[in-house]
Structures are given as structure tokens and as C-alpha cells.
């Protein structure tokens, strides 16, 4: 080891952390199937983790740590039910079943239980519409990402107690609402899957463009979301939109390091050094988008691209263009048009305006932006005056541009972005 300070005890604790990160999702998912209660499953899994922390420093890490944790957690569950069976006969039956399951005591067998379906059930429960959005996010990171409450709190810049409370309440809500541990049935599936994708993309965006604080981004959350997306793509391999979302995140993540200068200030897409874009992630994005397209075209009848696949296709235009000038802006205009039809929104319209200005000149874009300004839907969105300023500047209307940059600077909550906008206002003089 390079780090001479580490003691053997540190070593094993860090190894246990890693085992937890790798195994906890499957562990909780399997326990939730057995117990029918996600909250209880998580507590049992935590108990097993505590047992590992107590025993592994002396015994060493078992050869199959996942199976070890599962067995310990299930034994705890049996103990719990045996205590309660005096109150209710039903517990005796559950405890009996579980003991049978543990009976042969073969860790390999425990490990070979199908876990993919359980994990998918866990995803759907964690992102259940009965929970508020913020709780879905916290629960997903905790149950599926294996993140600790502290890690989640740090990523979202809130006190750990807030996250802890959010998770406790969420588990209670799930129990009180009697949310079953299952994958939603066909009729409900598309809407519920959309809710899952929304949670994953929300996590990604929280990292990609921090809404508060001095950090332009918190890439850890991006990585976490990307990982969740990749896991989800394996769990639901036939869903075009899941691959569409993964493609979108791969493309956006490919620009993570190119988006900021050494001093932390943001660099706009057209000014980024394309050599710093991550080719490996771009390649993965292209592959995921191709997979998404192939899946939707193989449906009978074929379906059109969903909102994530469309955004991924837009990102692909940027990611595969050798230079900013060589970007296929006409294609991007068309893709934004399709997106606006599917999900009409002022933000999409604003993006379409930018693409229009690149494809057909600044006045084509300004026309749309002015309509948006009158419409008022983006009254508090700093990018509206920022885009408008940019178009005005390109049209040589410098004083108007300066005022718009200043307005945008006053509206953004991001300190670095404010500096950038004020600097651009200065340049108009």
C-alpha cells in the first residue's frame, strides 16, 4: 500500500465499506422480498453490517461476503419473528419458512438466488409516487447507491439530520400506504418507469449544475446517477427510454472536466476544448443511443424517441461534432422541435431558439426569445436574459446586450455563473 499510515483495522473497515457499497442494494432487495417491508429490510441489512464490523476484523473477510451478510440478516429476521410469534401466529409461519430457507446453510445457494428482479422491485418502491420527490431521491441513493446518510447530506448541502429524517419518514410512508414489493403491472408500468428515470436524472442534474453554493458542480452525484442509470439499463434491458437516459448522461458526463476552467469558472459549450471531452463516455453514449433506437424501432409498431432519447440525440450532435462550427445545428433545431411537441416547455423553446440562431442567424433566434420574454413563463430564469443578451450582442445591439447580461447576473443563484455573466456585461462596453 502506498499509504503507510493505514493500520490493518483501517484496511478492513475500508474493505467492509466497499463490500457494503457493492452488496447493500442486492442485500436489501432480497430481504425486502422475504419480509415484504423495505424499511425492515434496510434495518436488518444495517444489523448485518454492524455484525460484519464486529466480526470481520478478527475473522477476516469471508470468501463470499454478500452471502455472509444475507445469512446474518435473515437470522436476525427469524429472531425478531420468533419473539413476536407469541403475539401473532402469522409470524411463526414466516419464521418457519425463513428457517427452512436458511436450513441448508449453504452460502453459495443463498448467493445464487435471483436478485435482478428484487433489485428492480426495490427501484420501483424507492421511487414510488406516494413519496415526495426529495424522499425518492434520498431513498434511492441510500438503498440502491449504498450511500450513507452523511454522504447524501454532503452531496445535497443539507444537514445529515434532515436526510435521516427524510428517510425515516419515507420508510414509514411506504409501510403505512401498504406499498407492495413488486414491479408495477403493465398498465401502470410506463408512468412508474418515468418516475424512476426522473429521480435518476434529478440526481444527475443536482450534480451537473448545483443549484446553490459556490461549486459549479458536484461530480460525485453525476457519477452516482450514471451508475444507477447503467444498473437500471441492465435491469430493464428492453426499455428504449432507459437507454436514452443513460446515453444522455454519458454524453453530458463526457464534458464534466471540460466545463470548468482551472479557477473553477464555467466554460460554455462552444468554447470548450473538445480534446478534453471524454471519448470513452462519448462512445458509450453513442452505443446506448443506438441501443435505444434499435429497441424502439423493433417494437410493433415502432415507437418514436421519448424525451430522454431526444435529448440524448441532441447531446450526440454536440459530442460527435469535431468543432463547434461543424455542429449540425439544423438537426438540433429539428430535434428540439420534436421535443417541444412531446414536452412543450419554455426551457425547450429557449434551447430551440439558440439552435435556430446557430442554424439560421441571430434574428431567427431572437424572434422566439422575444416571444418567450413576453409570455413571462421564464420570468425568473436567468438563462432567458443571458441567451437574449448573447443574441443582441451578435446583432451588434451592445447596450441592450449589456443590460440583459446584468439582469441575468442578478438572477442566477450560482456564484461562478454570476461572475461570468458580469464579465460578459463588461465586455459589451
Amino acid at each position: 500500500m502506498t499509504d503507510g499510515e493505514r493500520t490493518p483495522l483501517d484496511e478492513i473497515r475500508r474493505a467492509i465499506d466497499s463490500v457494503w457499497r457493492i452488496e447493500s442494494g442486492r442485500l436489501i432487495a432480497g430481504l425486502a422480498r422475504t419480509t415484504g417491508d423495505v424499511g425492515l429490510a434496510e434495518e436488518l441489512a444495517q444489523d448485518a453490517l454492524v455484525a460484519a464490523l464486529e466480526q470481520w476484523p478478527a475473522s477476516g473477510i469471508p470468501r463470499n461476503p454478500g452471502a455472509w451478510l444475507t445469512t446474518v440478516a435473515k437470522r436476525r429476521a427469524v429472531d425478531g419473528w420468533r419473539r413476536r410469534e407469541r403475539l401473532d401466529d402469522r409470524y411463526a409461519a414466516i419464521a418457519h419458512d425463513l428457517e427452512q430457507e436458511l436450513g441448508d446453510d449453504d452460502p453459495a445457494r443463498v448467493a445464487q438466488e435471483p436478485i435482478g428482479d428484487d433489485l428492480l422491485r426495490l427501484v420501483f418502491v424507492a421511487c414510488h409516487p406516494v413519496l415526495p420527490q426529495a424522499s425518492r431521491v434520498a431513498l434511492t441513493l441510500k438503498l440502491l447507491g449504498g450511500l450513507t446518510t452523511d454522504e447524501i447530506a454532503r452531496a445535497f448541502l443539507v444537514p445529515p439530520a434532515t436526510i435521516a429524517q427524510r428517510i425515516v419518514r419515507a420508510k414509514r410512508t411506504l409501510t403505512a400506504a401498504g406499498v407492495p414489493f413488486e414491479v408495477p403491472e403493465r398498465a401502470e408500468f410506463p408512468e412508474r418507469l418515468a418516475s424512476v428515470l426522473e429521480v435518476v436524472y434529478l440526481i444527475f442534474n443536482e450534480g451537473y449544475s448545483a443549484t446553490a453554493g459556490d461549486d459549479w458542480m458536484r461530480p460525485d452525484l453525476c457519477r452516482e446517477a450514471l451508475r444507477l442509470g447503467r444498473v437500471l439499463a441492465e435491469l430493464t434491458p428492453r426499455e428504449p427510454e432507459v437507454h436514452g437516459l443513460v446515453a444522455l448522461m454519458e454524453f453530458q458526463a463526457s464534458r464534466l472536466t471540460a466545463r470548468t476552467a482551472a479557477d473553477g469558472s464555467p466554460i460554455l459549450l462552444q468554447d470548450q476544448d473538445r480534446a478534453r471531452w471524454d471519448r470513452l463516455l462519448i462512445g458509450r453514449g453513442v452505443a446506448a443511443l443506438e441501443r435505444s433506437d434499435a429497441l424502439r424501432l423493433s417494437r410493433r409498431p415502432p415507437v418514436s424517441r421519448g424525451p430522454y432519447a431526444l435529448q440524448a440525440a441532441i447531446a450526440a450532435c454536440h459530442a460527435t461534432a469535431p468543432t463547434a462550427e461543424a455542429t449540425d445545428w439544423e438537426e438540433i433545431v429539428a430535434l428540439y422541435g420534436a421535443l417541444a411537441e412531446l414536452r412543450p416547455s419554455a426551457v425547450v423553446e429557449l434551447n430551440r431558439a439558440v439552435a435556430l440562431s446557430m442554424a439560421y442567424g441571430p434574428s431567427a433566434g431572437l424572434e422566439v426569445v422575444d416571444r418567450l420574454a413576453i409570455d413571462g413563463a421564464l420570468a425568473s430564469y436567468h438563462l432567458l436574459p443571458s441567451v437574449r443578451a448573447d443574441l443582441l450582442l451578435r446583432l451588434g445591439r451592445r447596450e441592450e446586450a449589456r443590460q440583459e447580461f446584468q439582469r441575468a447576473a442578478a438572477m442566477t443563484g450560482n456564484a461562478r455563473e454570476r461572475e461570468l455573466l458580469l464579465a460578459r456585461a463588461e465586455e459589451c462596453l
Binding site: 474493505a15 457493492i22 444507477l228 458509450r284
Partner: protein, 117 residues
């Protein structure tokens, strides 16, 4: 962070590093399911590759020499590569421990600049 796991052959033993290719497939599936695998490649035998030696302006091409005869010596011949994106070194090490190799050595190396990715 990104890590590359490099499986290196050892001297004195021409046997493949893994006696159970099916286990290796299962392992890679696990990596994919966990969302950590970015790329993986197995390499054709080192004997079929070419070595280029750089000496100033000169480039000298040769066959890759056979592994040294001493058993246990790391031959410096890469047999397979896996690139992972993990939360940190410990997780990369945990995945590396789980590689179903029968023999050989695995170097776990952090990708430069990978800390910001």
C-alpha cells in the same frame, strides 16, 4: 474515479490466468450489472504481439520475448484489462479481489485525472 485492473502473466508458467472462462464471463456480467464496468479487453497471447523499443530517434521492433523461466516472477506481459469507475480505490480493490483468476498478478492502477471524472 477510474481504475484499470491489469492482469499480468507470471514467469515459468504458460497456463492461462483463468481456468474457468465461464466464471470470468459471470464476473464481467457482475461488473456490468453493478454499473462500474467502462471497458474490458482480453488480449491475444503476448507471443503474437509486437514490441517497439524507443531509443532516441530509433524504433526497434521485435517479438515480445517469452516469459522469464523463474516461477512467480511478474513477466510484465499484460493478458487482460478492465477499466472500472468506482467510488474510490477501496471499491476497485474489492472488485479486483473478486477476479476469478487462478494464477498471475493483478495491478490496480488509478487513471490519471480520473479523480475529477
Amino acid at each position: 474515479m477510474r481504475y484499470v485492473l491489469m492482469a499480468l502473466a507470471e514467469g515459468g508458467d504458460a497456463a492461462p490466468l483463468c481456468d474457468d472462462p465461464a466464471a470470468l464471463d459471470r464476473y464481467e456480467q457482475e461488473l456490468v450489472r453493478a454499473g462500474v464496468l467502462l471497458a474490458a479487453e482480453a488480449l491475444e497471447p503476448a507471443e503474437t504481439g509486437t514490441r517497439i523499443h524507443f531509443d532516441g530517434e530509433e524504433r526497434i521492433l521485435s517479438r515480445i520475448p517469452p516469459a522469464p523461466p523463474e516461477t512467480g516472477a511478474v513477466a510484465g506481459r499484460v493478458e487482460g484489462l478492465w477499466m472500472l469507475q468506482t467510488a474510490g480505490e477501496d471499491e476497485a480493490l474489492e472488485w479486483a479481489r473478486r477476479l476469478p483468476l487462478t494464477r498471475g498478478t493483478v495491478d490496480v492502477r488509478r487513471v490519471a485525472g480520473g479523480g475529477r471524472r
